[in-house]
């Protein structure tokens, strides 16, 4: 018995060592390029491009950031994006979660063909032109609604939630609740949702990040400058600093002026645009703690 215990713990120790090594390896591989983005955003672009910047920033300057924040549109962009992201994600969840619940119920007869019809839309679509005509016909172009309602049910996310509901809600749970006279509405609201905080936060995150990064909607459907989200503004700033890469070829004059800072802006834009959404993650991380759901049932 003692021998077995020792053997097992030796195996587990080796296992823990392997895990630790893997984690350090993953950390280094992922973190270095991220760190590089940060130092590149404050270094001389020429030195970055010629491989002079490896560990510490060189030719330190905050030109990139002053360029980014010097653009007054950026604050309006931030405000719009925060609005579209919160409102949009709320609507997404409002439409997706109940539907996913319905589709997860084995007794729901229509679930299979509804699911099929939903999945079809992941593949077949009419293309940009008819979609544009439709959204224009609905009077949504140039309004904030175009960011909120069209395609507010993402079938991929719907499937993930449905799968989660199917596997993590024990079947007996609803049967027991139904005996007590609990309908689907109440069961969904007071049992299914609280038990599924993990998936709700994941899907909420998926949707929120989708809204946050979306520039295509604004590009195609919005012409009013006051409604432009952050990504469009940043894209403009980014492009205005990358123009020298093609400017010369189009017969104009390429300048050396912004050349030195082009990449600063490129890397700075990434930091400016993602920092806020990165900060969201730690808040939802707590819902992935091992066993947190089970605890909530018992509690």
């Amino acid at each position: 018995m003692g021998w077995m215990l020792r053997k097992r713990s030796a195996g587990d120790a080796l296992f823990d060592l392997l895990i630790a090594v893997a984690c350090v390896f993953v950390f280094l591989i992922v973190a270095y390029p991220l760190y590089f983005v940060v130092i590149a955003s404050v270094s001389d672009s020429t030195m970055v491009a010629t491989g002079k910047v490896w560990v510490w920033p060189r030719g330190f300057s905050l030109f990139g950031y002053s360029e980014i924040f010097g653009d007054t549109r950026i604050w309006r962009g931030y405000r719009n994006t925060v609005l579209y992201t919160t409102l949009g994600t709320f609507v997404n969840l409002l439409f997706t979660l109940p539907a996913a619940y319905a589709l997860s119920r084995p007794e729901f007869r229509a679930r299979r063909w509804l699911m099929f019809l939903f999945v079809v839309t992941m593949f077949f679509n009419g293309g940009l032109i008819p979609t544009y005509l439709l959204i224009k016909g609905l009077g949504m172009t140039n309004t904030i609604w175009v960011f909120i309602f069209p395609f507010c049910v993402n079938v991929y996310n719907l499937i993930i939630v449905r799968t989660f509901f199917e596997t993590s809600l024990p079947r007996e749970l609803y049967e027991a609740a139904a005996m007590d006279g609990c309908g689907h509405f109440r069961f969904f609201w007071s049992v299914a949702l609280p038990l599924s905080k993990a998936v709700v936060s994941v899907i909420g995150l998926y949707y929120a990040v989708g809204h946050w990064n979306d520039f295509f909607t604004a590009l195609i459907y919005v012409r009013n400058n006051d409604l432009q989200p952050l990504q469009i503004v940043l894209r403009d700033i980014l492009l205005s600093n990358q123009v020298f890469q093609s400017g010369a070829g189009t017969g104009g004059d390429a300048g050396g002026y912004a050349q030195r800072y082009a990449d600063q802006v490129k890397y700075g834009v990434i930091i400016v645009s993602t920092l806020p959404i990165l900060l969201v993650y730690p808040f939802i991380q707590k819902y992935f703690e091992k066993g947190v759901m089970i605890g909530s049932i018992k509690g």
Binding site: I220, V243, G251, G255
Partner: protein, 545 residues
């Protein structure tokens, strides 16, 4: 089952009917606002809408003094939508929904292909030019080629061109580091072999004198795209063999004695590639030449402090290419001969037309409610004094009015800024419609002057070009949509084959073995069909002149 369906459909129909109602209302509102005030209404300006495809650097249109003044003179008040990026994606939806503003301005923003594909969307401007466009008429009279640029095959005119006069006859200049030559006691090369020897010396010796004989890059050229060549590429060496490139000849097409050819299947191109492969094998070309991006290409040539790294390369202008510190080390170099005993008249890339003219700079919506007002505004842009400001910026901050009918482009307000950036920041610059009349007396900025000076060594070769028979006039030709798409598809195929082979032969050799098979393969891409189409159009163009 049936009833379930009908219930389902009823709900959806109700939903879409609601949607349709709100859509309709919105449309009416839109029409009302774009209609604006009646034309005769004295004192009130006509409201127009417009899209401007501007350069990403360009400041907001509302801050351009010349534009405000021009709108006022034309009696219009324009609501601008400023587009800097992704116009092609945006355009598809706008055009197919017929959802366009009164004016669209930008370099070839609406192409001939778009005009052909969306009939009825754009206004034929012929009558409006007659009645409200004296400045446009003047351009057509003084520069008849601008009328050719504007006219579609059926004689209609949808988009108006630009003429900007001052740009040089070629985009690509050839630079060599004179200081390196002097330090190593070398002469400026005049032939390929001499160039090779010079490059070898650059590589093997410490040409930049920093004590490290291995940090010199003897030759570098701009990143080569997968869709064909552009400017600043070694294809200008084809000039040594007597081939005249037109506007860079990106996809290989050139003209020789009135015959349209493609250099990708020409023996002379094979010799250029062989020469480059020889250089590459000897380590004379930047090993990253095919993988670096444009930023790096430019960054490398800026060297480290006052130590230059690149010996021989191509570019637009010397300070742009090497930065202000290193620029004095470099000189512009005349075209090379292929061999010392070659009696071929050397040539160069001729891109005068692409640099000085542009098509479809402005188009008008056929649905515009105020066509006369829109035309008045367009006409205003083609006024030579306004055009000058379209190109270089407002009189005052950007241009000095000497008061005697002469003008002068002012240096940038910020001394750290180069004149090119200053121009692009201040105004529409090359993206605007304009007519820079040949009588305009304007002193240019330092950048344009030095481009002119650096083109001098190339001028003998450029002047020797037979512009009738050796310059491909594609810019002045309108193709039918069918021919256009046939050629585009064939060219996509050809570029896939040819550009891959070009870089492969240079980096790993093998052209001698593969050339014949490659030429046969190129036939399969549809190249003969393209040559036949182009020849047909060129012949017709010449007949009509």
């Amino acid at each position: 089952m049936k009833r379930a369906w009908s219930l389902f459909l009823a709900i959806l129909l109700a939903a879409s009917a609601l949607a349709a109602c709100s859509g309709g209302k919105n449309d009416n509102g839109g029409d009302g606002s774009s209609g604006g005030s009646a034309e005769g209404d004295a004192g009130r300006r006509v409201k127009l809408t417009a899209i401007m495809i501007k350069h990403a650097l360009t400041k907001p249109l509302s801050e351009m003094e010349w534009l405000q003044a021009a709108e006022e003179r034309a009696g219009v008040d324009i609501e601008w939508e400023e587009v800097t990026a992704d116009w092609d994606q945006k355009k598809g939806a706008l055009l197919s929904a017929g959802d366009i503003p009164d004016l669209i301005i930008g370099p070839n923003a609406i192409t001939d292909a778009d005009i052909a594909m969306f009939p009825g969307l754009f206004q034929d401007l012929r009558d409006l030019i007659e009645s409200h466009g004296p400045n446009v008429r003047r351009m057509f009279e003084e520069k008849p080629e601008t009328r050719v640029l504007a006219t579609q095959t059926d004689g209609s005119i949808y988009g108006l061109p630009k003429y900007q006069r001052y740009w040089p006859a070629t985009a690509t200049r050839q630079y060599i580091n004179k200081e390196w030559l002097d330090r190593l006691g070398l002469e400026m090369p005049t032939t390929w072999d001499e160039l090779y020897d010079v490059l070898v010396a650059f590589k093997e010796q410490d040409a930049n004198g920093n004590g490290d004989p291995n940090d010199e890059i003897p030759m570098d050229f701009a990143p080569v795209g997968t869709g064909g060549f552009g400017f600043f590429h070694p294809t200008v060496l084809l000039g040594s063999t007597g081939i005249t490139l037109t506007n860079g000849s990106g996809q290989g097409y050139f003209m020789e004695d009135g015959v349209v050819k493609n250099f990708f299947v020409d023996e002379r191109y094979k010799r250029v590639v062989q020469f480059l492969a020889k250089c590459f094998a000897a380590g004379l070309i930047n090993p990253e030449v095919f993988t670096q991006d444009y930023t790096k290409f430019q960054a490398v040539a800026r060297g480290e402090g006052d130590i230059a790294k690149v010996g021989f390369t191509w570019g637009w202008e010397v300070t742009d290419r090497f930065g202000n510190t290193l620029a004095p080390q470099y000189v512009s170099m005349p075209p090379l001969k292929e061999t010392a005993d070659s009696d071929v008249q050397v040539s160069w890339d001729y891109s005068y037309e692409a640099l000085n003219y542009g098509v479809n700079m402005v188009v008008m919506s056929a649905k515009s409610k105020n066509k006369e007002a829109a035309m008045r505004f367009i006409n205003e842009l083609y006024d030579p004094i306004v055009s000058m400001q379209v190109l270089f910026g407002s009189i005052g901050p950007n241009i000095k009015d000497n008061g005697d009918g002469t003008y002068e482009v002012l240096p940038p307000a910020d001394p750290n800024m180069d004149p090119g950036t200053w121009k692009w920041t201040s105004t529409w610059a090359d993206n605007g419609p304009m007519y820079i009349s040949d009588d305009l007396q304007l002193t240019l900025g330092t950048d344009m002057q030095s481009v002119g000076a650096q083109t001098e060594p190339l001028m003998p070769a450029l002047n020797a070009i037979d512009k009738e028979n050796d310059v491909l006039p594609t810019m002045f030709i309108k193709f039918t949509p069918e021919d256009n798409s046939t050629m585009a598809l064939n060219n996509t195929n050809l570029m896939n084959l040819a550009m891959a082979k070009f870089s492969q032969w240079i980096t790993s050799g093998g052209i001698e073995k593969e050339w014949d098979g490659y030429v046969k393969e190129a036939e399969r891409t549809g190249l003969p069909q393209n040559l036949e189409i182009l020849q047909r159009y060129v012949d017709e163009y010449k007949r009509n002149r």
